[in-house]
């Protein structure tokens, strides 16, 4: 399972603070003009993280941490729709280190995260650093990338944008 680091700069975690835990409700990425409702997803029978039921909302992996909790929170979103139009994460790859990602939870708190790394993985990878990194508070965003494989009905790669917790503000 090869992986290619696009950029490996790790931002300082000095700004880390703590956040109350709650279910994520909306994902906001100001740079990409994304404001998407968050669905809860589990595992497919094949053991893959499941995906949201449409191409405009995103899916939070409910078996893992919630955004702002210690551990790795994971959210995925479609690259494209069945009709070929753009999915919510069509432009996820244009995020750069230092860009901000926000999550509002069901209690109204907004947790902010900062992009610190992007990586591509093979389509069938099981990377522990995406799901099981517990030495901080992380939010990892996933979508497809690479070349479409008709036989597998899958793109050949997965793009993961790693973000680290910055702060939580309560409205």
């Amino acid at each position: 399972m090869g992986s290619k680091a696009i950029t490996g700069e790790i931002l300082s975690q000095a700004a880390q603070t703590s956040a109350p835990s709650s279910s994520p409700a909306r994902l906001l990425i100001p740079k990409l003009r994304i404001e998407a409702k968050v669905q809860q997803v589990g595992l497919t029978p094949a053991g893959a993280m499941d995906v949201p039921t449409n191409s405009v909302e995103v899916g939070w992996f409910k078996e893992g941490s919630a955004p702002g909790e210690t551990g790795s929170a994971v959210i995925d979103g479609h690259l494209d729709a069945r009709d070929g139009t753009a999915g919510v994460f069509q432009s996820l790859g244009s995020l750069q280190v230092g860009d901000k990602v926000q999550i509002s939870d069901s209690a109204g708190a907004i947790s902010s995260f900062v992009v610190w790394q992007k990586k591509e993985y093979d389509w069938d990878a099981r990377p522990p650093e995406v799901f099981n990194k517990n030495d901080g508070k992380y939010l990892n965003l996933i979508t497809c990338t690479g070349v479409w494989n008709v036989g597998k009905q899958s793109y050949g790669k997965r793009l993961v944008v790693f973000t680290t917790f910055e702060k939580t503000s309560v409205n």
Binding site: Q13, A14, Q16, T17, S18, A19, P20, S21, V41, G42, L43, A46, G47, A48, M49, D50, V51, G59, F61, E63, G64, S65, E69, T70, G71, S72, D76, G77, H78, L79, D80, A81, R82, D83, G84, G87, F89, W123, D124, A125, R126, P127, P128, V130, F131, N132, N134, D135, G136, I142, T143, C144, W148, V150, Q153, S154, Y155, R158, V160, V170
Partner: protein
């Protein structure tokens, strides 16, 4: 011929290097039981005073003096036990936890200043009986999420403005314990991780963030625009996916693929099919399509 005994002095030096570099992992201390103090983020003996907007994620209480000042600007995500029986029980358990942490051995004596250093699991004290953090202290759990760090300060813990504690190698704030023989003062905009057991008082100055607990036995806890979140070890256990054989899911398939264009070949096939069907079912077409008699 070189005498082997002339090199024996190297052996302890190599061992010291391996241990200090983290290549040799000694068994670390076990955790300090918090018992009923677990639910508390702030616990005091002679009251709690707050200034400015402070967020407390966990219970609060104080006994025998239950005074609370400035709580109008506190966002409390927990229960305010004031001086009730729950607080009283927690205060008793705090004494037990304090004495447990204070009595742990073996103890490694390190410099008072912790900033800029990286420590592995263990029990630490300083010759002066004080600890301070200026800059960043890194605690490396060496891959063990149950790694425990105990700091025994006979008198004070004082952290500087904007000081920080970074956790690496699976270290967790719930397994960090600061036993302070007198009082602890946390600098402005600093971040402290772990459970502070102070015999007397604890002061968190403006903007300090505590990823752990502030538990004062006899004195007051003074807050100023802080965020205090009680850290629990159990939460991490539930965050590890265990539904798959490898413990880690496969990455999701978030693509539908490009929409299929109508290729020229497919279009030609549709035209031929339509023409065939038209000739098959249209009587006029069938008559006209009958073969003509051959001429002789």
């Amino acid at each position: 011929m070189i005498r082997i005994s002339s090199f024996l002095w190297v052996v302890p030096l190599i061992a010291l290097f391996l241990i200090s570099a983290g290549f040799v992992k000694a068994a670390g201390p076990t955790t300090v039981g918090l018992s009923t103090t677990t639910s508390f983020a702030v616990l005091a003996g002679s009251g709690i005073t707050n200034t400015g907007p402070t967020t407390i994620n966990g219970d609060v209480g104080s006994y025998p003096t239950a005074t609370q000042t400035g709580f109008g600007s506190v966002t409390l995500n927990g229960t305010n036990h004031n001086g009730d029986s729950v607080t009283q029980g927690a205060k008793t358990d705090l004494v037990t936890a304090y004495n447990d942490a204070a009595g742990r051995t073996p103890v490694t004596t390190i410099p008072t200043e912790l900033g800029g250093s990286t420590l592995v699991p263990g029990v630490y004290t300083s010759a002066a009986g004080t600890f301070g953090i200026t800059g960043t202290l890194t605690l490396n759990g060496q891959g063990d999420p149950n790694a425990v760090f105990i700091f025994q300060a006979a008198s004070t813990l004082i952290t500087a403005s904007s000081s920080n504690i970074v956790l690496t190698g699976s270290a967790r704030s719930c397994n960090i314990f600061w036993q302070v023989g007198s009082s602890a003062t946390l600098g402005t905009s600093s971040t402290l991780r772990g459970n502070v057991f102070a015999l007397t008082s604890i002061t968190a100055t403006t903007g300090a963030v505590i990823d752990g607990r502030l538990l004062a036995r006899n004195g007051a806890v003074t807050l100023d625009t802080n965020t205090i979140t009680k850290s629990t070890c159990a939460a991490v256990t539930t965050t590890t996916p265990t539904s798959t054989a490898s413990g880690t899911p496969t990455l999701p398939n978030t693509g539908h693929g490009p929409s299929l264009p109508v290729s020229p070949l497919a279009a030609l096939s549709l035209v031929i099919l339509a023409g065939t069907l038209y000739r098959r079912f249209n009587p006029r077409s069938q008559v006209s399509s009958k073969p003509t008699a051959s001429r002789h």
